[in-house]
Symmetry: C2
Subunit: 473 residues, 2 copies
């Protein structure tokens, strides 16, 4: 598909729509929009848009998209730029629509337990505003302090609380979306149920900005759980740790707010990085379990039961963290894995597979096998409660970069094929984006891919919205 | 669009696919598939299919749909026939695909907390099978004892527990769907997260059988909550009762498993019908609140707090039901409203609107106004916790049937316009079907409707799947 060039005339049209001071063609601004946090991007890689525009209303977005559609200019929506799959990269140049001026929390509606927000708000700000009214947005991802809520919707973000609270989609009650052809859709509302026609709202959630630009979001809020307690359970191996998960949930009747899995390598690395003196000898796998609630007695009860169930499930040691300080300490281990790994192994690729929970030990075994075969380290951690793992492959320092780049692709193929064979998928919360597109093209069933393409073509006949993401047309 | 006739040749083809003994053209079988439970169907109304076929596999469904698509024969999927919006009516004759042979629970997977089932299983049977392993399917609707799970998926069914547990969509982890053109799609799996491509699974949930035929369903299960307690709170009026709901949830931090609203008329009628001696004097509205949990102490605590919050919110009297017997007694009041109303007012139309919770009192006021204007009774009850109401308009015994039929349409227009003005939609859990199609065509924003039609045409080019439901092409 041939795209048009961003001419002086088009830039003038954009300036007329959004105001000249909200349209940038400077190197500096374009450069700032040329990357995201995808680990496989080489340091020198840049995807420079021709122009960046920051509209302030759905109407302006609609006019920008109509202009882009008329001249066949690719459009890349950009939020916080914290994505891990290249979703915000302007692969084919063109226009980046920045959400920096669509950054208001419009309303916290206490009575209907909902927030109405624009897409450019940092997710943690929504939680701060909700907390003032005793409410919380529980669908947030791990990057809550820097990601934008619009990006969360585009990627259907998950996170560490999904085992109890689910992912972004569960909380999206309403959306205002501008289609690539300029129509402004209002979907849903402050409504907890809605079966009036097809699930259009859900179609946009997780579509990675390829079907439209979201200009307003209504999210369901929950009562703020004021109390939480966590524990760290040490196991001899992954199989034992994972077997303890259904024991706790299905048989124990307990749904913790987090069940995080950390393999021995990540655990040791993070402890070293933090100068944390937790025992590491004989530890083959670790679970970090957190429970939350509004009633302190019930919570004490829950954490005690969780401990008993994990002990009965084979945990060798359990550290309960029931103060804010001790909780921060054990969460620091989980949160600093990425950074700890980077100290000694700066070149890596982080993955985002999902498998049925019972298959996590198969993945762990498969990773060990891959380590031997490819001569690389496969660090593994993730959300055990929902089967979403982030295996991270580390380039050995003595491996040449050229060799690594070909090994990396082989490794990813191997991991994704194994995941598919175990009934899993190649992304649970980071998205396909441009990073995983070639794998998705092979592993997604042909009929499913055809259906996605039909929908894409029906909504975006000129393929201007975030082209080259998820699949190529 | 011209449809083909069901010829002898086509019936032979169907017999070859599904076996001659699973293809029926008898008056009796066709008649059994000619109605559902939509209240506005006249007693004599029938929508007779030409032929009923009961396939036993996705492969057979695919061949049936390929045959239907080749000869342009309309196809109507049929489950338990308990729908309330005419979704299972063969409006244009043709083929009914019955799910009576797709009726196996394939697997209860305890480790992954999931059930794999065919669509023709009665929803309560899934719960019975799950309960044996300490698990529960919590997305079920009020008709759980007679509806089929396939119908629940088609309608994205809600129910009395949605305030805490959400509706069907939240629990659908995977689907096998046959497209109208015969392709068999496998979507999702035993996976708690999945952002690998568009949300296709969600597109089929709630599409009322117009986009494909579901042949397999994977549902998420939850730990079975073994304890529950309920209370009945009496209020002087609806505004007071509804104001108590956010007080309990947002400020009290308590999410009950049910918050049911019953207006004074329904309450008195149901008490009379049951010979139940609850006080009715001065009662303007009633809330039935149920909490569930696995820990009895926490539950006792919750029901006590719920009582306190409702009392502080203006409840004049509160009856706590903490034994199975007393719980059954107060739930009987809620469950018997329909039947109680039918004793004295057999001709009625039941609705299914959703509004933001805070707007329930506006609906109550609007209904009073409508009673005066149209000279009919507007009984009102529903799920206060999620804003989903079932206003039921009753034909006065002395009103002529012809007059009622025109009044009924006027009433529905009035109710739906009022709902839309309050930010609501015309169906929360029953669906649009054929019953609400004419209203939906007017009240659904044009752009949304166009998008739905584009999707429908992309998936079903000959419009054979359940034609005439939700919208006309």
């Amino acid at each position: 598909m041939g795209y048009g060039a961003v001419t002086e005339k088009i830039i003038l049209e954009l300036a007329e729509i959004a105001g000249a001071s909200h349209v940038w063609t400077t190197e500096e601004k374009r450069e700032a929009c040329s990357r995201d946090e995808t680990t496989t991007l080489r340091p020198e890689e840049r995807f420079m848009p021709d122009v960046v525009v920051a509209p302030s209303s759905a109407r302006e977005v609609s006019e920008i998209l109509q202009t882009a559609n008329k001249y066949k200019i690719p459009v890349t929506p950009r939020g916080g730029g914290t994505g891990l799959s290249g979703g915000a990269l302007a692969l084919r140049g063109g226009i980046v629509i920045s959400d920096e001026r669509l950054n208001r929390i419009i309303e916290i509606d206490e009575e209907n337990m909902a927030v109405v927000t624009e897409p450019g708000v940092i997710t943690s700000e929504i939680n701060a505003a909700a907390a003032e009214k005793g409410l919380a947005y529980t669908g947030y991802p791990m990057s809550v302090l820097s990601c934008h809520i619009g990006g969360n919707v585009a990627e259907n973000a998950g996170g560490g609380n999904a085992v109890k609270y689910g992912v972004t989609m569960r909380y999206v009650l309403g959306l205002e979306v501008v289609l690539p052809t300029g129509e402004i859709l209002t979907l849903g509302g402050k409504l907890m149920k809605d079966v009036s026609g097809y699930s259009l709202k859900e179609l946009f959630v997780g579509s990675e900005g390829t079907l439209g630009y979201v200009t307003k979001i209504i999210l369901r809020l929950q009562p703020l759980m004021r109390n939480r307690a966590a524990l760290l359970a040490l196991f001899a191996d992954t199989a034992g740790a994972i077997a303890a998960v259904p024991r706790m949930m299905a048989r124990g009747g307990l749904i913790p707010s987090s069940i995080e899995y950390i393999d021995a390598y990540c655990y040791v690395k993070a402890c070293e990085f933090l100068n944390e003196e937790l025992p590491t000898e004989g530890v083959g796998a670790v679970l970090l379990v957190e429970v939350d609630g509004s009633d302190q007695d019930a919570l004490d009860n829950d954490i005690e039961r969780a401990g008993e169930l994990l002990k009965a499930g084979g945990a060798s040691e359990i550290y309960v963290a029931d103060t804010r300080f001790t909780r921060e300490r054990i969460w620091a281990v989980r949160r600093n894995i990425d950074e700890a790994l980077r100290v000694t192994d700066p070149v890596q690729t982080d993955e985002d597979i999902v498998v049925p929970i019972s298959k996590i030990p198969d993945i762990a075994r498969g990773l060990k096998e891959m380590e031997r075969r490819f001569g690389v380290r496969a660090a593994n951690f993730g959300h055990a409660g929902d089967g979403n793992l982030h295996p991270t492959f580390l380039k050995p320092t003595d491996m040449m970069m050229e060799r690594w780049q070909s090994v990396e692709t082989e490794i990813e193929w191997e991991l994704f094929r194994m995941t598919a064979e175990l009934g899993g998928v190649i992304s649970g919360e980071h998205g396909i984006g441009s990073k995983r597109k070639k794998y998705f093209a092979e592993l997604c069933p042909r009929e499913n891919l055809e259906l996605m393409k039909k929908i894409k073509k029906a909504l975006d006949p000129n393929n201007i919205m975030n082209p080259g993401k998820i699949f190529d047309l």
